[in-house]
Subunit: 231 residues, 2 copies
DNA sequence: ATTTGATATATGATGCATCATAATCGGCGA
DNA sequence: TCGCCGATTATGATGCATCATATATCAAAT
């Protein structure tokens, strides 16, 4: 104990509960759960190799995030986002991600630019390779990088929860998309290089609107079908 | 299955965990905890008359909300908001509450107006009676009423978490404020009557900025003192 | 065969025992 | 007297037993 050497990383930072939360969040973002899927704490615990306690912790936190819903006291499910829910989240994202882009333009450095370009290039490769799950992940990384550049950790946590709510839908969208989904990223990067906050905000908003269009279409189609089915 | 009768209300089967979350949230908003206070799960459980499990559930959710922080694995505290944190939250609120006010102007009814006027009148009475805690609560009710009028439940949940983070600070501010804190509420109500979304958004933004000024001052003073004390 | 009510099962909620470890305290040596 | 090492205590994390109750199963009556 003569010295508290700055170990490379206090790796174990995570409790099992945090780990379960991360794992389930990833699964939601990657689309490994479908809307309306039912989750059972005991089953998840068996899958994760822990007792129910950490899984329960994680599930409760995800319910708090609205990333899961407790339909009845014993029925935990992946929510089915209504078109109204989706539009509301989209409106909030247009505001907040626009804000992040604007602030990022004030704080951006060349190192940040390089990082964003690296992420975008890798995302293009993933898309060309047909690896939708990886592209989804990189897309998320790109969007959250803006909040990091802007130096807005609270905003980041807010947006993470909103993304979690849309998780399964985004993953679905990426399964059928091509290179057009990076178009606005290039425009955004250029705006950041120009330190043009308004243009950066506009770029991210266009990205949200255009890539959201097919998602909204899918939701509305599902709602029409459900309405028809229920008579 | 002949019909899914809309039962009057499944009278929220609140679990003990939900109840603990509510109780602790209220305590934070009402200022019954001070920044940097340490919380002990076992103590809280004793106070609430339950086992540790529901309290742990609640505390984990509050940590997720950033309304509490785990400074070290065994040290749960009410966070000390830095001025940077506060300004970031303020920026987000300016955007989101502005958005709520704007949308509320599109959806408002005379019943809504009456409700807002009722809340404001009661808040004035509370302020005149020197009941800061009740005024704080009514202020919160007023702000969240806007998201209800706007029909934006997701936005409401986002804002609730932001308010929770500022909880102890807001309560402190209300202990020393007078009737000026309702001024913008009247302007806002008039804007809603006029269905003028821009004016409504401007009113709520002025409210946030002006009532936030003394809070920010207090934070900065505390930071200066801490810096001086640490030499 | 369909409905209905009793029974069995499934599953989250709750309480509690135990564990690991950080914080605290006490004693020993200089 | 002061400071360091080991024992003690405090406290969140984890696992698990039990409970309450929603859901599913099944038998009996019509």
């Amino acid at each position: 104990m003569a010295e508290t050497a700055p170990r490379l990383a206090a790796l174990d930072r995570d409790t099992l509960g945090d780990s379960a939360y991360q794992t389930l969040s990833d699964a939601l973002i990657k689309g490994r759960f479908q809307p309306d899927d039912r989750l059972r704490i005991r089953d998840l615990a068996a899958e994760l190799g822990t007792s129910v306690t950490p899984v329960r912790d994680a599930v409760l936190r995800l319910v708090q995030d609205r990333a899961l819903v407790m339909r009845s006291p014993r029925d935990i499910r992946v929510p089915i986002l209504s078109s109204a829910d989706y539009l509301e989240i989209r409106t909030i994202r247009l505001n907040l991600e626009g804000l992040a882009a604007e602030k990022a333009a004030d704080a951006v450095t060349s190192a940040h630019i390089a990082e964003l370009e690296r992420i975008t290039a890798e995302k293009e490769r993933a898309l060309l390779a047909g690896d939708g799950a990886y592209a989804t992940e990189l897309n998320q990384v790109f969007h959250f990088a803006l909040t990091d550049i802007a130096g807005m950790p609270v905003l980041k946590s807010v947006l993470q929860r909103l993304w979690l709510q849309m998780g399964p839908l985004i993953a679905e969208m990426y399964r059928t998309s091509g290179l057009e989904v990076v178009e606005h990223h290039h425009i955004l990067i250029q705006a950041l290089i120009d330190r043009d906050g308004q243009a950066a905000a506009a770029a991210i908003r266009s990205d949200i609107l255009e890539r959201g269009a097919p998602i909204l279409e899918r939701i509305r189609r599902a709602e029409r079908e459900a309405a028809a089915g229920a008579g």
